[in-house]
Amino acid sequence: MKIAIASGKGGTGKTFVATNLFHVLSARGDRVSLVDCDAEAPDDLLFFQAEKISESDVTHQVPVINKDACTWCGRCSRWCNYNAIFYLPSAQVIEVIENLCHGCGACTFACNAGAITEKPVSLGTVSSYKTASGSPFIEARMHVNEMSPVRVIKAAIKEAGSEGVTILDSPPGTSCPFVQTVDTADYVLLVTEPTPFGLSDLKQSVDTLKTMNKQCGVLINRADIGDSGVKSYLEEEKIPLLAEIKYDPAIARAYSEGRLASEDNKAIAALLTELADIIISDHGTGSHKR
């Protein structure tokens, strides 16, 4: 089964939960893999000793226009919905703005003069690793200065396959990168903090998941700060509160140094193991035992 770890607000502890959840399941011998889907800010790898097994480019096809063959009909530009073809026939100018191109291929099809060919442009990489415990880790990493991580995320999730438990560390927010990540998930664990900002973003995430018919539960991180707004909301909406973790400087310290808190904090390890068992037994499909 696929479990997505998500949150509307950034910095609530998604990466902390995803990496430690992966660690406790892997340590007890479960068949588990982790996919870092936060392709704009991928950080999971900082927490593991891992050996790189493969790296592949994620590309899309961008048009190349042969001006000599162009009949200046302008059809390619009209078919492009992203304003990626700048067309000024009076000055004999036609140019592809690669940064705006989404690689849909409409212009290539639209051209009746055979003036458009295509070339691959790299958007990012998908890398596979084997962690020290033997469990696979996959990282989606968008290139800096690219616009959208969606294709890279999609490729990384595909690479993970569908055996055992796959943990997807989602990007923050509720727009396309988040939607692409949770789309394949069987269950979404929302990590939030009990503050007005946390609550507002949690509501937005829940509303988005409702439109997608996704089941979700909540982990409240730094549960002893802020106010009671998140809990009241969860009760009203009948959304399961699966776990609470209090603010602990030692956990923050471990995180800052790229260490997994669950390696030496038994209480955290136990809490996350129990959390995983609840999710797997209630929503799991297939076997996660190795």
């Binding site: 950080d43 727009s175 007005p196």
Partner: protein, 290 residues
């Protein structure tokens, strides 16, 4: 002058710091560009003078009564959004990129492009000037376009009302909404935290920021969570010739202020963090007058 606050990593304190600046400054326009997790309005309760419908991206919708299941659309779609399932063509809303290609090539004219009109842009007054923010409807795409709209409105208001400073609260990450936030801004302020992830994400967002503005400064928030890491970040910034605007301590009062619906500088003006924020703000503003 337009100042953009961004972070790469989420949850480093962008919005709390922006809120402090917005209440330290006099007569300004604040624009919340984190359109899929907008939060500042919770502190500023803007009197809504205006709400505008934002028409989002397109989605392809198929009319099964016209569709002959010829499969042409499926074979040309490069976003894997179209599948034949049990003799019926299904278009995935989450995978559809809105490129129009399928609707143009369907021989039966069975595919229509539909636009969402659920996203909004709001503008109004708050206690220290004007505020603009966007709210992307759940699961909507094209957040960069909404950011552009929010910025245009902020600029218009600053000219109309004679408010010289425009303060932008940006989204996390490095993709299209971030690029839309920083393009053309006079100064970019990156808020980071002293963690391995904070540094890794700083490096990526710094590369984006540098591309769009000569004036990039860094604030290390919660520096006392790991002072050695804070020093390492300062060292890295020095090597890039990027100025450190200041260090801010971890302070639970920031959450307290958020719960009270205020900025930290409003609720605890005499605290160490408020004083440091005041120094940073004056630095940002005075530079602009040179």
């Amino acid at each position: 002058m337009e100042l953009a606050v961004i972070s790469g990593k989420g949850g480093t304190g962008k919005s709390s710091i922006t809120a402090a600046f917005a209440t330290l400054g006099k007569e300004l326009v604040v624009a919340d560009c984190d359109v899929d997790a907008a939060n500042l309005y919770l502190l500023f309760n803007p009197a809504h003078e205006k709400s505008e419908v934002y028409i989002g991206g397109h989605k392809a919708v198929i009319d099964p009564s016209l569709c002959t299941v010829c499969g042409i659309c499926e074979s040309y779609c490069r976003f894997d959004a179209i599948r034949e399932k049990e003799g019926e063509i299904i278009i995935s809303e989450t995978s559809c990129d809105g490129c129009f290609f399928c609707s143009r090539i369907c021989p039966m004219g069975a595919i229509k492009m539909v636009r969402s009109d659920k996203s909004r842009m709001y503008s109004g007054t708050f206690r220290n000037g004007m505020m603009v923010y966007g709210r992307l409807a759940p699961g909507e795409e094209n957040s960069g376009k909404l950011v552009n709209l929010v910025r245009e409105e902020a600029k218009r208001l600053s000219e109309e009302k004679g408010l010289n400073t425009v303060l932008l609260d940006g989204p996390p990450g490095i993709g299209c909404p971030v690029i839309s936030t920083v393009t053309g801004a006079d100064k970019i302020i990156i808020v980071t935290e002293p963690t391995m992830s904070g540094l890794a994400d700083l490096k990526r967002v710094h590369e984006v920021a540098r591309k769009f503005s000569g004036e990039v400064g860094v604030i290390i928030n919660k520096y006392d969570l790991n002072e050695a890491m804070a020093d390492r970040i300062e060292g890295w910034c020095a090597a890039q010739e990027t100025s450190i605007l200041g260090r801010l301590p971890f302070e639970k009062k920031v959450t307290e202020a958020m719960v009270a619906g205020k900025s930290i500088t409003e609720l605890y003006p005499e605290s160490e963090i408020s004083k440091s924020l005041g120094v940073i703000w004056n630095k940002l503003i005075s530079n602009g007058k040179e």
